[in-house]
């Protein structure tokens, strides 16, 4: 990959010519040594505070470029955060994001859709800063905060609980990302289907096996974990993915046990996830397992799942398993960090509920590979992560285009 950076960058330039990049995104990447692949793409990234301060200039420059294209005349913007106002870690992300946008020349106000926020409310942050959340208000076809209905509203709320009435039927105002990027509409299987097609073209250009950067997956709908509806169908799907993976492991002489990850097809936050090494494990789940699988964030019932080839994490930091997360604004990689967790095996999901990961910021940026250096030197590893992150962002762009009609029909 490293001796082809010029071709890769040109390929991306052409691709972004035809696809509108998401305003921002973060991609969980897994590095198995023999394979490097995205496992999740977040269109409402919530960890900007984990990026190294040295990456701020890149983030600011990328945001300038994004804003210039979207609403070059804008003076102000409203940012709609998640509702969990007690999570100061998350609020620090909001503060960081606001700081980045402020440096593009925008006054940023925070409009919350949380029922708890009925008047401007100050939240002190651990780092000594503070933010003020104001209630988001509807005014005709637009939303805003007191005295401001901006040209664009930036959502940092993934709409897991559905689209709040206040945000429905907005006109003459740009929502970033669009509502159908929220988990009320989005499906991981649609994303990875788009990723398949992106990777097909990219792998052809590089003349590599697409599998090396793409996990197998399939999906199943209308399951009911509590009622044990669809268990057989799920077992079949697990078998299918495991079988395909085994063939590849044999082809490449990989001496590891294949596994799959069963995840809610919509939703996030590591709930509704299980790691499976054999189809039999998904049949006859006990009550605890069924409970775990059946509900995701905001109490949503899980009926659709994606069954994805598990990618081992071969990276570790001080003996702890590490999973890279790549952050993008517009088409640009602006940094990343490792999720590091000591208590987990390398085939387990690192974004689990209650997981206390340590963010370890990438110390160098993702756009300066050094061909003279070893392929696994940090600077080159980060470049490769950035490539995978951008492929996933490109898939998200195509996914959003494909699902735009869903929003219009709703």
């Amino acid at each position: 990959m490293l001796d082809k950076t010029t071709e890769i960058e040109r390929w991306f330039r052409m691709a972004w010519n035809e696809n509108v990049p998401p305003f921002y995104s973060s991609v969980d990447v897994r590095n198995a040594g023999f394979k490097l692949a995205p496992v999740d793409t977040n269109l409402f990234p919530g960890g900007f505070n984990n990026l190294a301060p040295e990456m701020m200039p890149l983030a600011i420059q990328a945001a300038m470029s994004a804003i210039e294209k979207i609403c070059p005349e804008a003076r102000s913007m409203v940012l709609v955060p998640e509702n969990h106002t007690r999570n100061t870690f998350y609020l620090t992300n909001v503060a960081r994001l606001a700081a980045i946008l402020k440096q593009t020349g925008l006054d940023i106000r925070l409009g919350s859709v949380s029922p708890e926020i009925t008047e401007p409310t100050r939240f002190d942050l651990p780092d000594g800063q503070h933010i003020v959340l104001e209630p988001l208000r509807r005014k005709g076809n637009r939303v805003g905060v007191d005295g401001l209905e901006p040209c664009a509203v930036l959502l940092n709320n993934d709409l897991s609980a559905g689209v709040p009435p206040m945000l429905q039927g907005i006109k003459d105002q740009i929502l970033l990302p669009p509502l159908h990027a929220g988990w009320a509409t989005r499906r991981k299987s649609t994303h990875f289907k788009a990723y398949d097609s992106v990777v097909e073209s990219f792998a052809e250009m590089l003349d590599i096996d697409p599998w090396l950067i793409n996990p197998y997956f399939t999906h199943r709908n209308q399951l009911n974990f509590q009622e044990r509806v669809g268990e057989e169908s799920l077992a079949e799907a697990v078998d299918e993915v495991l079988a395909k993976t085994r063939i590849k492991y044999a082809e490449y002489g990989i001496d590891e046990q294949p596994y799959v990850v069963v995840k809610a097809d919509a939703g996030t936050y590591g709930m509704g996830i299980m790691t499976v090494k054999d189809a039999s494990e998904v049949v006859g789940l006990n009550r605890k397992q069924r409970n775990k699988m059946s509900v995701v964030k905001e109490g949503l019932q899980v009926s659709d799942v994606i069954i994805q080839e598990g990618v081992h994490t071969f990276e570790s930091i001080e003996d702890a398993v590490a999973e890279p997360v790549v952050y993008m604004i517009d088409r640009y990689v602006v940094g990343g960090f490792y999720r590091v967790h000591t208590g987990r095996a390398r085939d387990e999901n690192l974004n689990a509920p209650g997981m206390h990961f340590v963010p370890l910021a990438f110390e160098t940026p993702c756009n300066t590979p050094d061909c003279g250096d070893r392929p696994d030197a940090a600077v080159n590893r980060f470049y490769a992560y950035g490539v995978i992150g951008r492929l996933a962002a490109l898939a998200a762009s195509q996914e959003l285009e494909a699902t735009a009609s869903v929003e219009l029909a709703a």
Copy 2:
């Protein structure tokens, strides 16, 4: 300036909406403490190798954004360097520039207009790298190198000797920057006239005295230093600028001796420059002084001069006088460095012939001011330099627009 960064960034965003940024530029800035102003704007910047390696990611990202707008489909580009092929320092700049562009997905080839380059010629650089210069060739209405006539040609040659016939009448090909950005057409006085107008609007927005970021100037044409034609007129001009400066010094209680710098109105490389504290100094120049003033780079005769208010350099590094230089690609500040010279007084020109300056790279970028920090903290000083640099780049943009008709008429 620091508590208004949001307004400043918004102002720039609006301004770049209406003005096309030069592909790249570098601006010599002088910081007098009481005053911060550009003294020279280079549209063929030649010191990219002086930027800190940490700034490369910003430069790459900015170049990506520029290329995307100019020729998004381009696979290759030809870069036309200066002819002084024995200056390995300059050639290292060319190598760095090529590396930045390569990382945007372009194959870069170097097409020289030097008569010495008649076939592909390898030059080894002090850092162990090498570059290959190929002869630039004309093919119909386009130029290129063997087997390549790219959509865009990047000039890093300031055309001091005039526009080579090979580059005249190019059609269906983009020259970056356009030919009239070369010193064959460009005049410093036209640039600073555009800067006046840029600063007027900027200063009004910030509610500051424009003089604080703008040096007074006037200009005189059709002088002949050798024949002593126009000495009186020049002395008058010097008097005029000194008098205006004295009034401002009195207004602000500045206890310094005003001075002016007389420079060739076209041209670069610190030739044809003198520092004057009294009008009488330009009358009755001795032979040595007349020789110094009458010729600039490539042996060009000086007949037009700009008489510019001198801005003291109050910055010093280890007791040596230091002049900041800000580098931009497209609308983005991508870094900078200090010219440091121990042998000169702080009212002298630092870009003098034979001057051996020490480049001291800015260690932090120019787009992340820290309002909590002191105004003269490095990060805030660099932000202010970046603002001045961008104002000058904006002036260059307007200057190029105003002089475009000159090129068409030629």
